[in-house]
Each structure stands twice: as structure tokens, then as C-alpha cells.
Symmetry: D2
């Protein structure tokens, strides 16, 4: 039996998806009729519930992937295809302490908070209060909020933490903040960047070269989706051609 306060994902047979925190009472509209919380509360994950029109919805527990895709956004978000790779390159796992800037809409923040567990911590910086608020709202839906500290702060003035396990910069001119980032990282730790244009990548690379960063790597990730029809298997017609270039490096001490 599901409990009030639980975040659930309701998916129609056509794939239309709704995220709701369960309440004791009340209902909400879908494009296929009204769903009542009472009806959902007496079910379990994986089960179906019917709208007042008798239309079927499945009750699912959102995965991290689902959470990321569902953040309310006012900015370009970072997508799962990049986030998964970032986690591995930055060594994000239970207990990690990590800095992120900017917060944006909080899609990467959500993933980081999920992965660092209860002993870890995410320090996320954003200069525009509007976005920081939005990200906080997005995190509030989940039970991950307590793992995140939000800062509305200009990172040109430096980060409040030191010796962090990893740092991710998703800002327009990351090369302006490399000294601050270097200072906040623990020795040997990884740093990552997301940049949309090749010119930005060139600028970043030329700054990284001049500092004590090592194992510099530039990649891009493409994801192609297939229509899941066994007898007519084929890629879908359109795909995302570009989100951004990912750049990674490690802090070293040059002598």
C-alpha cells in the first residue's frame, strides 16, 4: 500500500505521464479523466488505477532517469545521456562531497544528490535567485533535498568549500573560474564542464593547459532511440543532434 507523501509517476497506456506527491484526499485531472488519490493509495507500484472514465494508468516509482526528465525547467537542462557519463568520470558515489555551478533548473543537482547518499553532500551555486528557487522546488518533490546546499552567490568570489571530491561547472565562461575551482578541489580530484560551442571548448582548453590540470578530455555523446516494434525495428525519425561538449580533467600539483 502506498503512503501519502510518496512521489509517484502515473503513466497512461499512450505514455502520457503525470508526477504527483500522494495526498490523503483529493484528485487531479488527466487528459483521460480524473484520478482520485484514494484509488491510488490502496494500490502498489506496478499496479493500475482507473480514471473516472475507466481509462487505465500505471502507478510507477520514478527512477532517477524519470526524475531528471521531469524537472520543471527555465533553462537548458543537462540530459541523462550526459549525466550518467559525468557521474562515472567525476567518481560520484555514496559519501561524495561535490560542488556544482550553476544550479540551473537542478537536473544534474537531482542526480548528484541521489548518488551521494545520506553521507554525501552537494554544494550547488547559482547567481540568479530565480533559478536557484526553481531547482529547490524540483528537489523538494523528492526526498533528496536535505543532501543539497543551495548558494546564491557569484563564484568569481570563490567557493565556500575546500577539498571537495569533484566539481562540475556548467557556466558560460568556465575559464574565468578555474583558479577558484582548483582551490576548492582536493588533490587528484576530477573536474567536469559542459559547453555548447566549439569556441568555448577551445577557450577552456587553452586555459586548462596553462594550469595544473591533467588528463584533459573532450567528448560528446549522441543517443539514438528506436521504435520498439519487433517486426519493424528502426530508429525514430528525429534525434537530439547536440546538447553540449563534455570536458574533463584532474587537478594535479605540477612542480
Amino acid at each position: 500500500m502506498l503512503k501519502p507523501g510518496t512521489l509517484v509517476m502515473l503513466v497512461s497506456q499512450k505514455g502520457k505521464t503525470y508526477f504527483r506527491v500522494l495526498k490523503e484526499e483529493g484528485n487531479f485531472n488527466t487528459n483521460e479523466g480524473v484520478l482520485y488519490f484514494k484509488d491510488i493509495l490502496c494500490k502498489n507500484f506496478g499496479e493500475e488505477v482507473l480514471t473516472h472514465l475507466g481509462k487505465k494508468f500505471y502507478i510507477l516509482c520514478p527512477t532517477l532517469y524519470d526524475l531528471i526528465k521531469s524537472v520543471k525547467r527555465k533553462t537548458q537542462i543537462i540530459y541523462p545521456k550526459e549525466i550518467g557519463y559525468i557521474l562515472l568520470k567525476l567518481n560520484i558515489g555514496p559519501g561524495a562531497k561535490i560542488i556544482e555551478a550553476g544550479t540551473g533548473s537542478g537536473s544534474l543537482t537531482t542526480a548528484l544528490a541521489f548518488m551521494v547518499g545520506k553521507e554525501g553532500k552537494v554544494f550547488t551555486y547559482e547567481q540568479r535567485e530565480e533559478f536557484s528557487r526553481l531547482a529547490q522546488e524540483n528537489l523538494k518533490r523528492t526526498d533528496l533535498e536535505s543532501r543539497v546546499e543551495f548558494f546564491i552567490h557569484d563564484i568569481a568570489n570563490g567557493f565556500h568549500q575546500q577539498n571537495v571530491d569533484a566539481l562540475f561547472l556548467d557556466v558560460r565562461t568556465p575559464w574565468d573560474y578555474l583558479p577558484q575551482a582548483y582551490k576548492a578541489l582536493k588533490p587528484g580530484a576530477s573536474i567536469g564542464f559542459l559547453l555548447p560551442t566549439t569556441n568555448q571548448v577551445s577557450s577552456l582548453l587553452s586555459h586548462l593547459e596553462k594550469m595544473s590540470f591533467f588528463q584533459i578530455e573532450v567528448i560528446e555523446i549522441l543517443l539514438r532511440r528506436y521504435k520498439p516494434i519487433p517486426e519493424r525495428l528502426r530508429p525514430v525519425d528525429q534525434m537530439v543532434a547536440h546538447t553540449g561538449f563534455l570536458i574533463f580533467a584532474k587537478k594535479i600539483k605540477k612542480t
Copy 2:
């Protein structure tokens, strides 16, 4: 100061990489001269150490990415570009209990063990003892081994666990084990598959359709690497064109 028993990664300026568990004494050969453990033990991560020929190596703490890339392999391994996405789709995080089959060389096992933390558990099945042993060796290098239970077992006879949070099948004919997988998964939980050929994807899809699986998704991920030269930025000449297709679904209860 680094301690004996620590797994370190030593990287030359040309990028040649060695993984070693630090010992109190002794040394090992690199292609640029001999490195002494004594010399490494008095350093920290991020610092450099010299070979007897005076060649520089950086001492780094391997990230999850590095660990995956460095598993000794007798099988095709699963690559970081796929692993990152699998983690998000299967909702793998601290505390998760997950089944994987087959174990193979243990690259995905390593990532799962890393992410589930101390409270989580990875149950990994492999029929061929040789591979299971290899994967155990690969895990032993890390401090993640205690989070993994290895089974040398034919999964046609079912899995030993029930109610697991997620399940990943990397076997040649996964459609043969769908009933066993369905039984082991908790309601609403995610299942993933990796398959190299389109024919296998078609077979799997037609079996998934007949059972109580939902949100079936087929994708592939391509990674393109760039030469990190600021004034001559360009993709490298060659890339991996194919590792496999990823298929995901969720267990539901159809009525």
C-alpha cells in the same frame, strides 16, 4: 601521505597508465623506468613521482570510470557510455539491491557495487566459473568486493533473490529468462538488457510485449572523442561504432 593497500593509478606524461595496490616495499617496471613504492608512499594524490630514469608519473586516485576501463577482460565489457545511462534508467543508487547476469569480466558489476554503497547489494550470476573468478579478481583490487555476491549458476533455474530493485541481463538470449527475471523484480522495478544484434532486439521485444512489462525503450549511445588541442579542435579519426543496443522496461501487474 598514501597508505599501503591503497589502489592507485600512475599516469605518465604520455598517458601510459598503471594500476597498482601500494605495498610497504618493492617496485615495478614501467615503459619509462622503475617506480619504487617507497617513493609513492611519501606522496599524495595529484602529486608526481619519478622513475629511476627521472621520468615523471602522476599519482592519481582511480575514478569509477578509470576502474571500469581497467578491468582485466576475457569477454566484451560494458563501457562507461552505456553504464552511466544504465545506472539512471535502473535507478541504481545507495542502498539498492540489484541482480546482474551474466557477470562477464565484471565491468558493470564494479559500477553497480560502487553506486549501491555499503547498505546496497549486487547479486551477480555467471554460468562460466572462469569469468566469475576473473570478475572477482577485478573487484578485489577495489574495496567494493564485500558489496557483491557472486553466483555460478544457470539462471534458467531462477534467481535466488526476490523483490530486487532492478535487474540487468547481459546474456545472449535474454528472452529465455524473462519469467525468472519478472519473478525476482519488485513491482514497478526496472529491467535492462544489452544486445549486439538487431535480430536479438526484435526477439526480445516480441517476448516483452507478451508479458507484463511497460515503458519498453530501445536506444543506442555513441561517444565521440575530440583531440583536446585548443587551436586545432576536431574529433579524433576513429570511434567505436557499436557496442550494443540497450533495452529497458518496467515490471507491471496487468489485470
Copy 3:
């Protein structure tokens, strides 16, 4: 000075494009005002002409690329990225005699007719009269129509030509027409196919293997477009993820 009867392409500064056959008199509407043929006739290619609102349009001679992109379509068309490669693989050049089926909207027909020159010939087959008519209209805009013979004909009954230099099959079940195609081709000549699904490719391959075809090849072509902004160079956001798989082979005589 341009002449009446010439096909021109008029492109606004925003990139909005109109194709028109020039007339002695008259005008036509654009989204930025009216253009008068008189005004265009006293210009040359590469020059600008103004609408009655003073908006600038450039007068261009459509390239083969432009012609292909501008065919009126009732079917999925074959795109330039595939057509270019098909020309090379099928050895289409001045003087070639080639069969194509089905005609569809005539995008490939246009390219073939362009390349075979005055001494060459394109024999194009289509079962549905509606599409054949449409393709004929599309060809009529150009001066290429005389190089093409249109057949409204079920190719199950065979092709009317023999000893052709190449043959392209863009039909749903090409494996049903391999004997007919084999018969029409001259020895050693190339055959090509476009198929959207992997299942169709598998079917075709298994039929090709049983017949006297050699150098069988399956490929797909992806095209990524960049925003042409020097200081913010980056791929565009979306791209075509799939048009179809191209399959090629050569007719041989097995003993």
C-alpha cells in the same frame, strides 16, 4: 539577362525560398511582399530583386541539391545525403541507362536524370498512378524530363529493359523482385536498395545471399548540420536520426 521559361530560386535574407518558372508578365506573393517577373527578367543569377515592400530576395539558379529538396512530395523522399552516395555506388554518370522503382515523388529520379546527361536514360517504375504523375510534374519544372521514361507498371511482371547499367529499388519488399532485377541488369552491374527497418534489411540480405550477387554492403548515413556562426560554432539542436538503410550489391555469374 534571365529568360522566360527559366526555373529560378528566390531566397529572402531570412532564407525563405520560392521556386518559380519565369514568365513574361505577372507576379507572385511572398511572405515579404509581391515579386514581379518583369523585375526578375532584367537581372542575372546572383543578383537581388526587391518586393513591392522593398524587401530583398536573391535570384539563384537551383542546384541539384535545391531541386531535390524542393520536390513536391506525397511520399517519403530520398534525401541528398543518400542520393550522393547512391550515385557513386551505382556508377551513375553521363550516358548511363538506369532503372528505378518505385518512382515515389521523384527526388532520386531528378538526380539520376541530371547525372545521366542527354545520352543517358532513366527508366522509372511506379505502380500507383498518383505518384507517377506527381513525379512527372516535379520533373517538368526542370529541363530533365526528356531523359526519363515513366512506367506505371507492376514490377512483379518484370522490367521492360535489359542490360541496364544500374538499378535502384526503393520498394517495401525488394526481395520479391530480385529475379526481375537480376535479369534487367548487365553483368557486373550494381544494384541498390533503401529500406527503413532492420527486419527488411535482414530479409533482403538472406535473399541476396541465395542469388548471384556479390560485394553486399549495408550502410547508413547521418548528416549533422552546424549553426554557421563563427564565434559560436555548434551543431544545431535537432537532426534527422534515420531515413533508411542503404544496401548495395553487384550482379555476378556464379558457376
Copy 4:
């Protein structure tokens, strides 16, 4: 019956390929035994011939694709996937007059010469005599040589032709030759470029913007090959990740 002087392609069942101009007499070695010209001369295209060890080779007429892939090279060549697209964008067909610089090893030269037919002409410029000679040799194998004029000439001094239908620049700093190229092109005609790095693309774009060029377009083409095995259809393991960026524009007259 084949004739002496004909260029043929001999392909073993394993796919090993030899190009030879047929002679009245003599023989040549393959990796599967000796082939005699006498044996080949009494055959037709598409037929098989046996080596002195009884190994089978098929006699094929090289397609344009085959010719391009077989040019002897001392430089990076332009590949079929790009060449096909270039032909369409530059409107290369029977009768066209086109300038190309640099000649390089002559792979694009071959394709251009093939497509312009007997009434067309290719003017190809190369500063390094060594490459021009190599390209001439590559063209000599075919019967296309008479359609090409080779110039060993520094294009900084301008091109010898005017009013050409199209122009392709495959040089390291094409922006240095834009005035010369503009002068050689007929009004409204297309120009194309191939550049390996993003920095070069940015430089070129900023120069194109300042001149009278229109419809500027930047693309890249990726080709993925599949193993043609019907019951195990899948992409091959490796692919070319990058050859170059293609840039296209049209000459206009700005007022």
C-alpha cells in the same frame, strides 16, 4: 569479351581487390595465386576467373566508388560519403566547368571528371608538383584524364579561368583565397570547402560573412557500416569518426 586497355577490378571471395589495366599477355600475382591476362580477356564483367591455384576471382568493372577508394594516396583523400554530397551541392553534372584546389591525390578530381562528361571540364590546382603528378597517374588509369587540366600553381596568384560553374577548395587556409575564388565563379554559382578543425571553420565563416556569399552552410557526414549477416545484423565495431567539415556557399552580388 573484354578488351586490352580496359581497367578491371578483380575481387577474391574474401574481398581482396586488385585493379589492373588488361594487357594482351602476361600475368600478375595475387595473394591467392597467379592470374593470367589471357584468362581474363576471354571473359566478361561479372564472371569469374581462376588463379593457377584454382582460387576464384570475380572480374568487375570499377564503379566511381571503387575508383575513388583505389586512388594511390600521399595525402588525406576526400571520401565517397563527402564526394556524393559535394556533387549535389555544387551542381556538378554533364557539361559543368569546375575548379578544384588543391588536387591532392586526385580522389575528388576523379569524381568530378566522371560527372562532367565529355563536354565538361575540371581545372585542378596544386602547388606541390609531387601530388599533381600522383593525381595525374591516378587519372591515367581511367579514361577520364582528357577531361582534366592540371595546374601546378599558387592560387594566391588567382585562377586562370573565369565564369566557372562551381569551385571546391580543399586547402589549409581557404579564407586567404576567397577573393580569387569569387572572381573565378560565375554569378550565383556554388563554392565548397573541406576543413578538418572547428577553428578553421570559424575562420572561414567570419571571412565568408564579410564577402558576397550567401546561403552559408556547415555540415558533417557520418557513415556507419553494418555486417551484412541476415541473422546477426549489427553495425561493425569501428567507424570513421571524422574526415572533415563541409562548408558551402553561393556567390551573390550585394548592393
